[in-house]
């Protein structure tokens, strides 16, 4: 069967892994521990092909009906 790359689907927003420095920046901006962030599974389909590990911060840029484009962050968890 043909393999489908979900990341290319129109409904899958862009997922970007943040560097350690950027991550610190975001954590400071929201004055929050990374446990307080929403989570994403390491085995999430949108993260396949990106090299991520536990505790990495993923930046997701979505289309939004109210704000055109919106930034969301998720922290990678194993399970």
């Amino acid at each position: 069967m043909k393999k489908i790359d979900v990341k290319k689907h129109v409904l899958v927003p862009k997922h970007v892994k943040l560097s350690e420095k950027e991550k610190e920046e975001v954590l400071r901006q929201y004055n929050a521990r990374f446990e307080d962030f929403p989570r994403i599974l390491k085995k999430d389909a949108a993260l396949q092909g990106i090299n991520v590990k536990y505790g990495d911060l993923i930046k997701i840029v979505r289309k939004s009906p109210t704000a055109r484009e919106t930034v969301f962050y998720r922290v990678v968890v194993l399970s």
Partner: protein, 768 residues
Amino acid sequence: MILTLLRYTCRDCSRILLPTARIEQYCDRLKRLGKDKGPDVMRKKLKDIITASKSSGKCPHCKAKQKKIMLEKPSTFFEDDKRISPIEIRSRFEKLNDGDIELFGLNPAAVRPEWMILTVLPIPPVTMRPSITLETGERSEDDLTHKLGDIVRINQRLFENINAGAPEIIVEDLWDLLQYHITTFFDNDVAQLPPARHRSGQPLKTLSERIKSKEGRIRHNLTGKRTNFSARTVISPDPMLGLSEVGVPDIMAMKLTVPERVTEWNINYLKEFVRKGPKSYPGANYVVRPDGKKKKLTDDTVEASVEELQPGYIVERHLMDGDIAMFNRQPSLHRMSMMCHSVRVLPCKTLRLNPAVCFPYNADFDGDEMNLHIPQTEEARAEAELLTLVGTQMISPRYGLSVIGCIQDAISGNYILSRNDFSMSKSEAIDLLASVGVIDVSKLPKKDTVSGKEIFSVLLPDDFSFSGRSRSREEPDVVIKSGRLVSGVMDKNNLGEGSGLLLRNLHKKYGRQFALDVLGKMFKLGIAVLMKRGFTTALSDTDLPQEAKLQIQGVFQRAEQDVTELVAQYNSGRLDILPGRTLRETLELKILEVLNKARDETGKIVAMNVESYSHTVVMAISGARGTPLNLAQMAGCVGQQALRGKRIENGYNGRTLSCFRRDDLSPEARGFIKSSFKSGLKPAEFFFQSVVGRDALMDTALRTPKSGYLYRRLANALQDLKVEYDETVRDSGGRIVQFVYGEDGIDVSKSEGGVLNIKRVVSEVLEK
């Protein structure tokens, strides 16, 4: 919990079934998990770790062989196939060490696991289980007492049997029975046990039932209570009341009281109330002395109380005009379901409210009842007024538009008034405006006849400009320039609740009190116009000229021919099948299409031929009530009755009613109603309408409780989410839910319909 502890600790040395090295390895992670997600998650994780590292059923500390432990619910434990007695379990728990207990999510400083096994049964005091003496002198004991009686009886029998050296089976049976009674003493609906019953067969109400669920202590008596200083009756409309007023029946006002403290300055004023006593209005019901003694006023005590009254006393006087009251209608889904009104004491026996505030309460007058609460302290009154006065609730936090607006007649009236063909003499106009409470009529032009638009403009402030759209096709653009309505008609789009920006802009520019005032005046003006002009719906509104009737007949004939043709195609197999459908479904879809087209066409014919400014049409196009479709149903034809998106199919074998032939696919045999409501329905047609009507009724009746529960769950889940100062939405634990509230950070209640009008903000700044 007991099971977990038994399973994952050694049966000999009572250590946790993990090698010391592993314990250290996981200890921190588990504790952090416990702090983050609660002890349940932590325990589950611990189980996983132990199961993963189980070394062939041997204790890593003392190498003793472990046996399999099973729980036979609710309260019997087996080790392999042998029963373990509670005594045995307790003694094992006693040996557990503190460090291990912590890993199981228990705090050893506060609790020991062996406490989970009772050695003595605490007996609640009689105040918790009072006995009732019936009129016959018979005493009836509380359910708990009965249960305790059972326990004591069985315990005694067990004691005697053990002492008498009875065989083991009997002792064991009694033991189990005692366990059963003790279990049901705490919880009478344990899944595996039959509930303990009265002799009459009704289940006993034991401890857990007292606390649990809606009728339990928590939801019934602690979170919600019955309250004093409140009232409830049927509501009815009174358009002459202000928007933030509530009409209170005089008999109610004489029962509800407001406490007022006597001072040097108001003593004479309050003495008057006391003198009037409880039976004449406005009087007082109670006098409270400074030492807190409350005295009821009766005809005999009135005189003495008047004499006694001095500063420091509190008089509980009757409710009067201008007092503050909270008004509420269930279900309170909104914050607008509970608003503060000022009291107007009126004759008769219903609570009255302005029909314009029906919408936020979702009230109508078909027998609805509402509640009234009278705040008793100065603080409560201030809080109610500042936070929940009708004006403060005007703009909905859901969509940022006014939730109160003109309804029904008020919309029709304003529509007629603002239409271009409306004019009246100036003196009549002044009369009209005076009747709604507008005294300053200097804005009217100095002419003998004035137009409706000019009359309406009097209500608007001079520096108000607005542009919007109306529903009308003739004057779609509403333009207000410096307080004058230049073009456009006033209809539901501008005046109605939850639509249009006119009210929103008035509120934004001039504040809530002003917006509310103007709205009230508009409302009254609309009604006054109708009263002056006369407004009714007549049978003749649905009259059609002869040629229109013929046209409609023609439409039906063509539709019928089309359907017969389709059926013929179907029967002969010539019908083209639509993709993804069966032949039959294709036919049904095509027929439905034809019939709907026929209905729409009749609708059009009706719309074209009916008198264009008849009152029924006015109501439909102004949005006050009814739609053009309703009119078409009255004058033209009712149309196809659809049941779950299909034509009506069920009833007899292959037909809907016994008066049709089997497999008759013609429109009239499948629920098409050719008649209009005016001409009257044929028996079969009436039946079809009833079928669909009943279905719709059942549907709403079944859906309401379901959606209510859904809403309750949603509200409970979301209730402590909060927008922090950095615009993130977080829960009570500081966990982030949204990074920017609503993804755009807009406070909807401060926006205009959910968007910010940047253009206006800029132009307003530039003007300054």
